[in-house]
Amino acid sequence: MKPGAKILFFAAVALAWILGAAGARSQSLPMGSGTNLSSVMYFEPPNEQMVNTRLSGAEMAPLPGAKYDVKRLKIERFGLSGKLEGVAEAPQCIYAPLDGTANSSGHLVLSLDEGRIQTQGDGFSWRQNEKSLVISNNVRTIIMMGNAKLPTL
């Protein structure tokens, strides 16, 4: 994880999967399994109070190598204004919080710009630090054209 980056883990329906106090900002990793995972990453200073990315999942189970099997993954990316810029959802993925990566051979749905751009495909790799999302196979996109945001007169 990059220096300065913060991760907050919340166990809303907790089964004691957080090492130490819940919600502690840390480099510490969740242990055990749990439900309703939520991991929040913030912008770099001076915007460290603003949420950059939120990763959430319905269920999580530990795997070797400080990785986790996450069910019903949802990755939300926000702009500095707080506007939701994009949402990626997948039924399952392997999440590596230390590397800031999530990947899966399963299906992924990506929605950008308030749903104007809808993309889906099979197999993906998300890298938080590079702010990139690779979709490996069978990519299909629908772009809504025409409702341009013209300047106000």
Partner: protein, 229 residues
């Protein structure tokens, strides 16, 4: 079947000066209810005679929310989203379909998304670009090139008047972009398509070949150069 005759022309200015040109120019009035923002939508026309670069077009003053929406379908083998540059990049057997009005094949497609949302401002198609555009009669206009760049912009040139620029610029090829339809073949680099106006312009090198319709003889819809024989 009678073989087609071809006439090669090396000057667009000469073309424009020939009265025969209008013999096969578009006769149907342009549609008035067509969506304005559709990518590669070009219900054309054989009206190739616009040597001036594609330029500004006055846009309607209606609020953007009233503008019609078009769905653009893209498929590819793989893709990636770059959150730093805010681009979607499609790689491998990329296919773009605009409700069957236009189809594009290429090896790589880069869609640049504006930071504040809205229409993609720039779409770059690379590697063996092939575009098929249907005209009003259902006839196909076939374009091949190395690269095609779709550019979209909205500017305010004067108070109360919005102007949109929406063009597709084709460059490169073997040896340059080629436009083919039932009546003619045009080689030009660059080849600029003004999407709203549904016209082409050829500001650089251009070469045109016309096919004489079979059995047309000296009919008025034959080659404009028939009279030179």
């Amino acid at each position: 079947m009678k073989p087609l005759s071809e006439i090669q022309v090396c000057g667009l200015a000469l073309l424009l000066g020939l009265s025969g040109w209008t013999a096969w120019a578009q006769t149907n009035p342009p549609p008035t209810n067509l969506p304005q923002q559709a990518l590669f939508m070009w219900p054309q026309t054989n009206h190739l005679a616009t040597n001036a670069p594609a330029t500004n077009r006055p846009a309607a003053k209606a609020p953007a929310t009233n503008a019609p929406q078009q769905e653009l379908f893209i498929t590819s083998e793989s893709a990636y989203y770059d959150g730093i540059t805010n681009q979607m990049v499609y790689i491998g057997h990329v296919y773009v379909d605009d409700h069957a009005k236009a189809r594009l094949h290429c090896g790589r497609l880069t869609v640049s998304l504006p930071p504040n949302g809205g229409n993609p401002t720039n779409i770059l198609a690379e590697t063996n670009v092939v575009v098929d555009v249907l005209d009003q009669s259902g006839a196909t206009n076939h374009i091949t090139a190395d690269k095609a760049v779709y550019a979209y912009g909205v500017v305010t040139n004067s108070p109360g008047i919005l102007t949109t620029n929406e063009t597709v610029t084709f460059t490169g090829g073997q040896p340059m972009p080629e436009l083919t339809n039932a009546k003619s073949t045009v080689l030009a680099d660059p080849m600029i398509m003004d999407v709203p106006r549904k016209t082409f312009s050829f500001p650089g090198k251009v070469e045109m070949r016309f096919r004489q319709p079979a059995g047309s003889g000296s009919a008025t819809n034959g080659s404009p150069f028939q009279m030179l024989r």
